[in-house]
Symmetry: C2
Subunit: 225 residues, 2 copies
């Protein structure tokens, strides 16, 4: 009996994910689900990414997932884009953005003026990896201070993603870490996972990240024109 209920919750989640995907497809919106541990630098990367896309006439929107607060959303205000804050409270707060939250957020966005939708998930290397929410691509951000062992300890996240942004590479020398050791551990878990070393702070590697986004979007034939 219990199992049946769990199953139906998961089925409902998947059904809504497919619904989200169909809406995005119809509106020609390419969606990226950005996931990571807390503090890996997702928001900083997005703040530097969106103006670079604007320069290419690619219009972004953001669904910002947090347990509580609008701290991250507020950071996007200067960019003049559409931002939907999803707060997963109450209780301790949902540890990921469920597809039902995305479904509501899509209704609130004017998708006709959006080319790329970034979904910044709740900072958590575990639960967000377990749920499809209707996105086109899943991207994990791993920052150097978190340690090279994280792919080995949170393997599902590194198995389900299409790209890993290895962030805060500007700290490599201070942390006395070799970037290669992160590559090696990622490869142990998922040999096919593309890895881009970047720095949200110095903007190193962001050109390659923008190229990845535009290529993947083209591959999904999501250009509106």
């Amino acid at each position: 009996m219990n199992l049946k209920i769990v199953k139906s919750v998961l089925e409902e989640s998947d059904r809504l994910a497919r619904e989200n995907h169909n809406i995005l497809l119809e509106k020609g919106v390419f969606a990226i689900n950005l996931m990571s541990a807390p503090g890996s630098g997702k928001t900083t990367i997005l703040k530097k990414t969106i103006p670079r896309l604007q320069a290419l006439n690619i219009r972004s929107a953001v669904i910002e997932g947090d347990i509580t607060s609008t701290l991250d959303s507020e950071q996007f205000q200067p960019l003049g884009i559409q931002v939907i804050q999803v707060n997963t409270e109450p209780f301790g707060g949902d540890c990921h953005i469920g597809s039902h939250f995305i479904r509501s957020a899509l209704d609130m966005l004017d998708l006709d003026t959006v080319d790329v939708l970034f979904i910044e998930n709740v900072g958590n290397l575990v639960c967000p990896a377990e749920f499809d929410i209707g996105e086109d691509r899943k991207v994990v951000v791993l920052s150097l201070p978190e340690g090279r062992d994280k792919p080995l300890k949170y393997p599902l996240m590194f198995r389900v993603c299409n790209l890993c942004l290895l962030n805060k590479i500007d700290l490599a020398s201070v942390l006395e870490e070799s970037i290669q050791s992160y590559h090696d551990n990622i490869r142990t878990i998922n040999g096919g996972l593309a890895v881009l070393p970047v720095s949200g702070k110095t903007e190193e590697g962001l050109k390659e990240w923008i190229k990845w986004i535009t290529n993947q979007r083209r591959r999904e034939c999501r250009s509106k024109v």
Copy 2:
């Protein structure tokens, strides 16, 4: 109907937590539930803490929670202590150590030779905060690279804990962060939360952390002699 089932799961979790607590009480073991985001430095801190307690004739054991792998457990081998690895796989992996896992682990430990039990929870700032597992104290580790905003974004964790170890303070100047700003945000969420700035790397602040452990243990009257 669904609600009833959820409630019974939570009730069972709490019942086992009380059972764990009674076992620890009977055996005179003081238990600390150590929680944080992935990569905040829990394992490094424990590796530096346990020998310092040994020097005071205080014997430690560790229950190590990870989705998968024994990477962290292996690091305790040179210390010659009892370590129980809890792996929360399969599926994506449970995002916290449930009290049922602790119940099983307690059966596997020789508690007569343990004074302090450290439970290193799964790296996650959300879910572990929601569950009592029978511990005496909850401690959150927040490392500087995660960002000063984390208490505001993951408030429950900072509300339920008895102490915050502010780790990696050796990186303050490189990150251009003021430690005070972390204190301020923690105080916004929980004015009563004790905060100890530490560095697992340089061992700064560890003396105060050891003093905190021994004081709290004394307060709970858990000395075996």
